[in-house]
Amino acid sequence: MTSIESLESRFREGGALVVSRHDFKRDGLVISAAIPDSSLTKLARGLRDDGYTLLDVSVLEAKEGFLVTYHFDDFNEPGRVALRVLAEKEDPAVPSLCSIFEGAQWHERESSDFYGVVFFGNTNPIPLILPDDFSGPPPLRKDDQDLAALSSLGLFGKPQILDPSWEALVNPPQAEDKA
């Protein structure tokens, strides 16, 4: 495993919006970073060069949009790492990781099927799990009244907020009032 310190500084240099350290025993993660979509391929390539593999792509729908979470792990010295990209609510789209991890193609197609997130640059963007003639909204999307705010989901461990616009996404409003 690349040391947490070096991952953290790399995420910071890579333009991370929020970097969080986690308690592995509770969160199952060592470190996570919310990043702008323009940094995604560069940071993912760095992880690949360090021996990390892409475990899965997990989409989380929230009030603010679609939080696409990429989980990485190192075969040699495990320590799970997550990169998160927030795609906007209308027409969500993020860059594809196909050119870095070939295995990303299926994960991304699956996420497209279920959430309607577009991964631009995917090498075979056809339905994977759903039938090709499926019509209707993506099946894992929630109704608007069921959506939670990102700040209420406890995603960010011990966060260091590097971009002020994420302050409201990370910290629940009540906490700010008390402060």
Binding site: R48, L55, D56, F75, F101, W106, L128, I129, D133, L155
Partner: protein, 418 residues
């Protein structure tokens, strides 16, 4: 003839305006060479063990390109996870990978326990380990029989089933079922082991060790089998990394990576057990790794049943039906028979989880097939496919990645071999 729009029965588009097959065939044949044949294997082909479909572009007997088509066994477990309470969702976990359901039990229950901060009593931890390892042995035996059957040897699966029945008899005592096991509960397990469970388990270990010797003499050393497997379908660590392949595929590639050892959960830390890896990264290597893992699991079962402590099998205040998970996110992974099984769980503090993502090892393992099959003989591609140990509901997981390789598929496979 000039007025007819001729369609080659093998699926080659001779007229670009014609549509052959369905959406996937059509999409696949867009980039086909004019002198090749598109072959559609499955979704009901016996060597795909269930409902996996593969499109292959063939030049003679050689595969130019192959592409798996998924979704025929998709059951939307993730959606069910969001509309059921955690307690109600446990039975689903027996149905993702029906050959190693205990691993999925563990991954989900473990994720909930991690989020809720629940500690499991010692005796329950031991029972979890014993049942998980017995189940792993059953899964590997089932794979072994079905794999050899893919290659044309019909007899071994009958032996595999005999041993598997014995394991089912043992697990039935505590779980109450034989296929879709739902044994784990939050904070423990559902049923305590009785004397019969302990005796049958203790008897089973030396029994299977003897049988493994016979398997080696009858099957592993068989020259026909070796010629079908040696040097076929090499998969290196780099390939595994690019596709996220784990489990026996990664270990055969030479990396002794195993979640039980690397990120110990349960009581695996208290046991010293070997993680077989190598010696070769071809089909034979994956075959040998799985058989070695059976022996490794036998060691674990033997030691755990010997040291089985007394005590409760569940915590007193175990979460009940209307339990509210604390808000937060967690990821919990265990080592299943096919590789790393992961559950990504997000809760907003309500009665039902906000989001559940299941990471099925068979999904990632199958995704490398297109690359691994390129340029191989069709018959070798079947060996490569078999060596991935797919269970289609696991791959489809939603069905599990090739969750496909199951008892339910077996009668079909057997009939086809006539």
């Amino acid at each position: 003839m000039s007025g007819l729009n001729f369609i080659n029965p093998f699926g080659v588009r001779e007229d670009p305006g014609s549509l052959v097959g369905d959406f996937y065939t059509d999409n696949f044949s867009k980039s086909a060479r004019p002198d090749t044949v598109i072959l559609n294997l499955g979704p009901q082909h016996p060597s795909t063990h269930g409902v996996l479909r593969i499109l292959a572009e063939l030049d003679g007997e050689y595969i130019i390109r192959a592409e798996p088509v998924l979704g025929y066994l998709h059951r939307m477990h993730e959606k069910m996870g969001e509309v059921k309470t955690p307690w109600q969702f446990i039975p689903n976990m027996g149905r993702v990978d029906y050959l190693h359901p205990i691993a999925w039990n563990w991954a989900y229950v473990g994720a909930v326990e991690r989020l809720a901060g629940i500690e499991v009593p010692k005796r329950a931890e031991y029972l979890r380990l014993i049942s998980c390892e017995l189940n792993r042995i059953a899964s590997h035996l089932m794979w072994w029989g079905a794999f050899v059957m893919d290659l044309g040897g019909v007899t071994p699966i009958l032996y595999a089933f005999e041993e598997r029945e014995k394991i089912n008899d043992i697990l039935q005592i505590v779980t109450g079922s034989r296929l879709t096991l739902s044994y784990f509960r939050f904070g423990g397990v559902s049923t305590d082991a009785d004397d019969r469970f302990i005796k049958l388990t203790k008897d089973f270990v030396p029994y299977l060790r003897e049988r493994l010797k016979m398997y080696k003499a009858l099957v592993t050393d068989n020259v026909i089998l070796r010629r079908r497997l040696e040097g076929i379908g090499p998969m290196g660590v780099d390939l595994c990394q690019r596709y996220g392949a784990t489990g026996p595929i990664l270990r055969a590639a030479g990396l002794a990576s195993d979640t039980r050892k690397d990120v110990p959960y349960g009581v695996y830390k208290s046991f010293d057990f070997p993680i077989p890896s190598g010696p070769t990264n071809d089909c034979m290597g994956r075959y040998l790794v799985r058989l070695a893992e059976v022996e490794s699991s036998l060691t674990l079962v033997e030691e755990a049943i010997r040291d089985l402590p007394d005590g409760p099998i569940k915590i007193d205040k175990a979460p009940k039906a209307n339990y509210k998970l604390p808000a937060g996110e967690t990821y919990f992974a265990v080592e299943g028979a096919r590789g790393q099984v992961g559950v990504h769980l997000v809760s907003d503090g309500g009665v039902r989880p906000y989001r559940i993502k299941l990471r099925a090892p068979g999904f990632s393992n199958l995704s490398l097939f297109a690359e691994a099959a390129q340029g191989t003989l069709l018959a070798d591609a079947i060996a490569i496919l078999g060596s991935l140990d797919l269970v289609i509901p696991d791959g489809d997981r939603y069905g599990s990645a090739w969750g496909g390789r199951g008892t339910l598929d077996w009668p079909l496979g057997g009939a086809s071999q006539k």
